[in-house]
């Protein structure tokens, strides 16, 4: 597909959007794992007492 003289601007817009949204999704998924593990560990410690 020929995007013409402004290909850089079109590809940059799509690229930045894709990278930013992917970074947000990865951060959310990693944070979910961290928080889940933290809650599990704390609940186990509370239960042992």
């Amino acid at each position: 597909m020929n995007l013409g003289a402004h290909a850089f601007f079109i590809l940059a817009a799509y690229g930045i959007a894709a990278v930013t949204l992917a970074a947000l999704m990865i951060w959310i998924a990693l944070d979910y794992r961290v928080q889940q593990r933290r809650v599990r560990e704390l609940e186990e410690r509370v239960r042992k007492r």
Partner: protein
Amino acid sequence: MPLIDYANPHRFQRLAARLIPLLGVVSGTLIVLGLATGWVAPADYQQGEMVKVMYIHVPFAWLSLGGYTVMAISALGTLVWRHPLADVSGKAAAQVGAVFCFLCLVTGALWGRPTWGTYWDWDPRLTSVLVLFLLYLGVLALWRAFDDPLRAGRAAAILALVGFINVPIVKFSVDWWNSIHQGASVSKLGAPTIDPSMLYPLLFSALGFFVLFLVLHMALMRNELLRRRARTLRILRAAEAEQ
């Protein structure tokens, strides 16, 4: 079960666990459909292929305003009804909304350079969207400024409500003042002034990003609820250790 019953942290967690993967697939499908049909749609007679940026820029712009509206409604829930999920929702909306607003500004600048000859202009629409982004950053900064999430939630809710005055300013800035930004073309009363070959891909893409917004909002709320649960457990342990 009435919808209001889901506004309970435990029920919300169970609902989110089921909905996040399902809506994730729906959102991905709609975005791919919208962008793919947009890429094969004919070029605009004035802007040429640059119109392809519209299929992402316009949804980001709509969701920047939509995200702020969710944040303001959540702020009402925090300040008026003191609902436990309201400030969790407000914080999540601020996080997703800030990202969509950032993308709106960046894709707008990249669209503006070839069409207007500049990345940036202190134009009413562009400036009011920048103010919207700064308001998002302000709300997020307030969330980080307090250790106690309840105090942080109240301070962030006040700023979110005060800043809501900017939402109609963004929307109507192109009608109230002279602007290099084009006026409304999809939401015009009567009929949209956009060809159906571009309108349908735009609507599919917008719907897909809207569902993505819901998924990200729900996922961030789920993380925040876990973070608060961990905080409560840490406080309980510390209190037990002191006895």
